[in-house]
């Protein structure tokens, strides 16, 4: 025994290896199934095979090869460089998507004049608040509150009428430049001033304001539309430019990553020009401009569009967010910051986790009973649909907001209470600001769940053929509902493999873009 090596033997790993393989295959099974289905959908939606081979060849040469090469080069430099480049593609893409949604709202739903009048009406009480804060501090809270409320109500009652009655009104796009461009210029200018100094801040602010106006004019002249021009400038071009500027100034080591988006843009333009010149036909994609912007409903796949669904979904999300977020965050604050450890608190606790598991169709019944049958609302309206979906995501918002609040370190609260802060002051000054990114992430994820819900909308009596809503009480549609209608009312094989595929692509793009924003926010703040 002593000192001699008698071999330890080997323990067979064959079963272990097999087992590991099985586990790995199982892990991929679901993901791959979905991937295959998505490939089918993408094929049906974009019909890439209907394009000329020459078309593919041109884009391979102008777009795919240069992009891969640039990507590989950036990756070789560092992973961060590649990530910088990828973000430079994804960010403008998503920004453009949402800017488009915003433009659609102003074109179809919210008359710009009404918007302007309400902005002015709300600016007045905001000014009053600032003035109150600045001057005499001895105003008691209730007096201040009632003053602010009074001014707000009064202003909302009087001002919109006055503004809308003005003899001359600015053009749509000018209203947007004023109401959106000005604040954005101001805020980003301030932010840049803090980062790079006063001069740069002013330049940036002015550039944003002038740029948005130029965007409007260019849009008008080019026929693209003045409103989309302004929206795209403000919410896609400006953030993109800012991103590029930040990379160039602050991350010189990653500057080269910006080549990637540049190569892609140049490649797309060059490819487009080339195929035009050479006469190669592109694919007969079902996801095209007319699909995205048409409100037509009929049995002919070529003529229908998803526009009403898109606008409906955007509006629903506004209503859902406006109801569910304050209520959900409020409940989370109560449970984390106020609730004594009583039986009642525990009941709320258990109750919330159970609410999160209630089937969505039951929420539909709740909406139907509560709002339609007993609330006297008409069926299938924006308000009823939004409120029903808000109830559905309410527990999800609470749960994620609680997590975010719980992650605020206790030392921060202690510091505040130790200074003689009241509970509300602590919540307002310490807890909510620190929990904000987490709450934002949770909210976006909750909304992206709501985006896909169909059953509750059907239950509250949403119509099968719907238009673009223009008031609270308009009947509403949504993207998933549109898919259901196509899949049932117009169900024919032609629909299944054409517009339905295209609709899936649009819906998933909206959802995934929301999720990626949420993931970005989460990662961005987790690093801190």
């Amino acid at each position: 025994m002593s000192g001699s090596y008698d071999g330890f033997g080997r323990v067979s790993r064959r079963i272990g290896k097999l087992f590991r393989g099985v586990l790995f295959a199982s892990t991929l099974a679901g993901i791959l199934t979905l991937a295959v289905l998505l490939v089918y959908v993408a094929n049906d939606a974009f019909q890439p095979l209907t394009a000329d081979p020459g078309w593919h060849l041109v884009f391979l040469l102008t777009l795919v090869v240069p992009t891969l090469a640039t990507g590989w080069l950036s990756y070789r430099r560092s992973y961060g460089t590649l990530a910088t480049g990828l973000l430079g593609i994804v960010m403008p893409g998503i920004a453009a998507l949402y800017a488009g949604g915003l433009a659609a709202l102003f074109i179809d739903v919210i008359p710009t004049l009404v918007w302007l009048s309400f902005v002015i009406a709300l600016a007045i009480p905001a000014g009053v608040i600032v003035a109150l804060r600045r001057t005499d501090r001895s105003v008691p809270f209730l007096a201040e509150l009632s003053a602010v409320l009074g001014v707000t109500v009064g202003s909302l009652l009087v001002v919109p009428g006055l503004v809308q009655g003005l003899p001359t009104v600015p053009a749509d796009w000018m209203v947007l430049v004023l109401t959106l461009g000005l604040p954005e210029a101001f805020l980003l200018g301030r932010w840049i001033e803090g980062r790079w100094g006063r001069r740069d801040g002013w330049i940036a602010g002015a550039a944003i304001l002038v740029g948005s106006a130029v965007g409007g004019v260019v849009g008008m002249v080019s026929g693209f539309g003045a409103v989309p021009g302004v929206a795209l400038t403000l919410f896609a071009l400006v953030p993109t430019g800012l991103y590029a500027a930040i990379v160039v100034r602050e991350r010189p080591d990653r500057r080269i990553g910006l080549l990637l988006p540049a190569v892609i843009v140049v490649g797309m333009v060059a490819g487009e020009l080339l195929v035009g010149a050479l006469g190669f036909a592109g694919p007969e994609s079902w996801v095209d401009w007319s699909f995205l912007t048409s409100t037509t409903q009929s049995g002919d796949p070529r003529s229908v569009g998803i526009y009403s669904g898109i606008v409906g979904t955007i509006l629903l999300m506004f209503v859902v967010a406006a109801i569910a977020v304050p209520a959900g965050v409020g409940a989370a604050v109560y449970l984390e910051e106020y609730a004594p450890n009583t039986r009642f608190t525990r009941i709320i606790d258990v109750n919330i986790s159970n609410l999160a598991g209630v089937p969505s169709v039951v929420y539909g019944l709740l909406g139907l009973g509560l709002f339609v049958r007993y609330g006297g609302q008409p069926t299938g309206t924006l308000l009823v649909g939004g409120a029903t979906l808000a109830l559905l995501v309410f527990p999800i918002v609470i749960i994620s907001a609680r997590e975010a609040i719980r992650a605020v370190p206790d030392s921060a609260r202690q510091a505040s209470y130790g200074m003689g802060a009241t509970r509300w002051q602590t919540v307002k000054n310490v807890v909510l600001p620190r929990a904000f990114p987490g709450i934002l992430t949770g909210t976006i994820l909750a909304l992206s769940r709501a985006i896909g819900e169909t059953a509750p909308l059907l239950v509250i009596g949403a119509a099968q053929v719907f238009g673009v809503p223009d008031s609270w009480t308009s009947t509403i549609g949504a993207m998933p509902l549109q898919l259901y209608v196509w899949a049932s009312t117009y169900a024919s094989p032609a629909f299944y493999t054409t517009v339905l595929a295209a609709g899936i692509v649009v819906l998933l793009t909206a959802m995934l873009s929301m999720n990626s924003i949420a993931i970005y926010v989460r990662n961005h703040y987790e690093q801190r």
Binding site: A412, G418, M419, G420, R434
Partner: protein
């Protein structure tokens, strides 16, 4: 290995107080000379429980105004609990329950009509881990003033507090930067500035230097010394030398939440009445 070097003299030791902590000459004296200071905080038979677990046992003690009072004792003996029961921070712990009286300027802070929030505005607090808010340096210091809506002359008050906390010169050009970008020692001084900006009468400090390096610690100690000119300071510490260096009075708690000795610092360290205190001070356990 200074640690090891330092303790080698034990083996050559001859008398009972090799470990005894020497109280610096002149410390305490200059303030004690003008006779006993008036009492600002007084506890009477104060007991605290966490659920069924008693953390303080009938503690009675009088804390003098504008003096530094140190609390020492082994881990878990209830020092922090005592400190936190002065400004009712224990209210925030559901499990905590208090019996007995804690008088502040003669008023029992546990009376029903006392508002703990108002109380805490007059009794500042500094914690073990520096915990500045993730706001600018300026906003950190202004925090308490804004809470109380005392925003006239804010700039001046912020500057004054930072000067008193011996931080002004280091940060005056970066008031807009985040308080989190400072070093640990600076952060702790920022927390002190934050606490004194609202002009409290008492400042409670729970091991304010234990997370800091020696240089930062000595700055904080100097600061505490100066603070006693204007404020009553109550400080919890694990470090005997520190207690000896900076305090006028020392309270020794032992495991179980008992106050076993409370007297002038010099007396406690040089001639303790209680044997267990002597053992503890000379480092024989704890």
């Amino acid at each position: 290995m200074s640690n090891a070097d330092q303790s080698t003299d034990v083996s050559e030791g001859s008398s009972g107080d090799e470990y005894a902590v020497s109280v610096p000459e002149g410390r305490g004296r200059d303030r004690d000379a003008d006779g006993a200071a008036s009492t600002i905080i007084e506890s009477r038979d104060l007991s605290v429980w966490y659920n069924d677990n008693q953390a303080l046992q009938s503690v009675s003690m009088e804390i003098p105004e504008k003096r530094v009072t140190a609390m020492v004792g082994p881990s878990g003996c209830g020092k922090s609990t005592y400190l936190r029961s002065i400004n009712r921070m224990n209210d925030l712990i559901d499990a905590a329950r208090v019996e007995g009286e804690m008088l502040f300027n003669g008023k029992n802070v546990y009376d029903d009509d006392v508002d703990p929030v108002a109380l805490r505005r007059r009794i500042g607090m500094v914690f073990q881990q520096p915990n500045p808010f993730p706001k600018s340096i300026y906003d950190n210091v202004a925090y308490g003033l804004r809470l109380q809506d005392r925003t006239e002359n804010l700039d001046e008050k912020v500057e004054e507090a930072l000067r008193k906390a011996a931080l002004w010169d280091e940060v005056k050009d970066q008031l807009d930067e985040s308080g989190l970008d400072l070093s640990g020692g600076q952060q702790q001084r920022l927390c002190i500035a934050r606490a004194i900006a609202v002009d409290p009468e008492v400042v409670l400090m729970d091991e304010p230097a234990s997370a800091l390096d020696p240089v930062a610690t000595s700055k904080i100690e100097d600061l505490i010394d100066e603070m006693a000119e204007e404020y009553t300071v109550v400080i919890v510490t694990h470090n005997m030398q520190q207690a000896a260096r900076i305090s006028d009075k020392t309270a020794v708690f032992l495991t179980g939440g008992e106050l076993v000795e409370f007297d002038d610092t010099e007396k406690v360290f040089e001639n303790p009445e209680n044997d267990r205190v002597e053992d503890y001070i000379t480092g024989k356990f704890g």
